[in-house]
């Protein structure tokens, strides 16, 4: 017999209503959310680095401004998500600590290096494109604070994919060296971006439960298919080749078939053995540790001022 609380929760989910922070919720639901939202937040924060890497070298002042605004947005998105996770009872400092300790996971895509300027284009077009496919359905996630954070993020992110596409388009309309740079970046980012949707449905044990709870709305493979279908015409418009010999339109399904992805690589990177895992964590840890004295100073100042005000009143 479900308890009254469980019944109420199940009714909310069945009615596709929103669960709010002070509602009763099953422990598994809370845990799943904390894990997913904090991982999402960590991904935004670590995800700043591959692009921040090119802020100082952006090849025009306009591109420099756009890139700065974009990386700055990512800090904001991390912040919105940490706030959402915090409503479930885990303080941000604790989540942050787990990240710098290396015990928290984040999207494996950010463990790949950004080797050329064209990577800024490929990340915007492919990585943000995949992220948007993932995120739009999350705006309707059953947990209210998560959905609201996603609404804000999706609104702000609408320019991220476009600016990436535009970078690649400029390159493809440019010199031979620029064209080669663009194709090389697409070659490197295409498969990892497809893997951003997570393992195939058969190997994704948590997906079913997440969908039953209305956290996740579509399966990994469904989202991946939607993304591939979207990419093909965009690649044609750009004039780049997607590096998949098996990619072709399937008349019967009305979708594009695509080749096998290297899931061994995916799991390797996820397990901490990607090209940049160590570097990304070290960067985050250094910023966190170098900033400690600043955060302490501000906290100490606030305490002193509060005391002075007390004495004065």
């Amino acid at each position: 017999m479900p308890t009254l609380e469980e019944q109420r929760f199940d009714e909310l989910i069945a009615a596709d209503a929103r669960v709010e922070p002070r509602d009763w919720m099953p422990e598994g639901y809370r845990k799943t959310l904390v894990r997913q939202i904090s991982q999402h937040a960590h991904s935004e924060i670590i995800g700043m680095q591959p692009e921040a890497n090119w802020i100082s070298r952006a090849p025009s002042l306009k591109r420099k401004a756009i890139l700065m605004a974009k990386v700055q947005d990512e800090a904001g998105h991390g912040l919105y998500l940490y706030s959402a996770a915090q409503t479930l009872g885990t303080p941000r400092d604790e989540m942050f600590q787990a990240l710098v300790d290396g015990t928290a996971k984040y999207s494996s895509i950010f463990n790949y290096p950004t080797l050329t300027w064209a990577d800024m284009g490929a990340i915007g077009w492919l990585v943000d494109g995949a992220a948007i496919c993932n995120q739009v359905p999350l705006c309707r996630a059953s947990y209210g604070p998560y959905g609201r954070a996603m609404v804000r993020i999706c609104k702000e992110e609408s320019f991220h994919q476009r600016q990436g596409f535009e970078i690649l388009l400029e390159l493809m309309n440019g010199t031979d060296a620029q064209k080669a740079m663009a194709q090389d970046a697409v070659d490197r980012w295409y498969a990892p971006s497809l893997m951003m949707f997570g393992p195939p449905d058969g190997d994704s044990p948590n997906s079913q439960q997440s969908m039953a709870w209305n956290i996740k709305r579509f399966s990994n493979d469904d989202l991946r298919q939607r993304f591939v279908d979207m990419l093909v015409p965009q690649a044609e418009a750009l004039g780049v080749t997607l590096p998949d010999p098996d990619l072709r339109f399937n008349e019967q399904t009305g979708h594009y078939d695509y080749g096998q992805l290297d899931w061994d690589e995916f799991h390797e990177v996820l397990a901490g053995r990607g090209p940049c895992n160590g570097q990304r964590l070290a960067h985050r840890r250094k910023a966190f540790e170098d900033g400690a004295w600043v955060r302490e100073a501000a906290a100490a100042y606030a305490r002193t001022q509060a005391q002075l005000e007390k004495v004065a009143s």
């Binding site: 709010e20 922070p21 002070r22 509602d23 009763w24 700055q72 947005d73 904001g76 912040l79 919105y80 706030s83 915090q86 409503t87 479930l88 009872g89 303080p91 941000r92 400092d93 604790e94 609201r148 954070a149 804000r152 702000e156 955060r295 302490e296 501000a298 906290a299 100042y301 606030a302 001022q305 509060a306």
Partner: protein, 102 residues
């Protein structure tokens, strides 16, 4: 009763709730939260975080721990009463239909 997510001694900087007025004539609406060492910095951080795209003309910040919420378990007790009192709404009064300016 404090709100979930309020800062406690596990946090270096406390959490603040941010309310933004989108335009003159409108109320401040909850926009989200952030961390800041004190009120002055909280307003600045809110400006930088929640009004980068012209979303606001005015900001309130409140320490999250000072927000008191109604008890969701007492939902019935708190929010049942208005139901069945639809005489508080103009649409309850139908006899005057067709009469102008009412």
């Amino acid at each position: 009763m404090t709100t979930p997510g309020a800062a406690d001694d596990r946090e270096e900087w406390p959490m603040w709730e941010v309310f933004v007025r989108a335009n003159r004539g409108l109320s401040h609406v909850h926009a989200g939260s952030l961390h800041a060492p004190d009120a002055t910095m909280a307003v600045k951080n809110a400006r930088d975080l929640y009004t980068r795209r012209n979303e606001g003309v005015s900001i309130w910040v409140v320490p999250a721990e000072f927000i008191t919420t109604s008890d969701p378990d007492a939902k019935g007790a708190y929010f049942e009463s208005p139901a069945g009192k639809n005489y508080r709404h103009a649409s309850y009064y139908t006899k005057s239909e067709g009469v102008k300016h009412l």
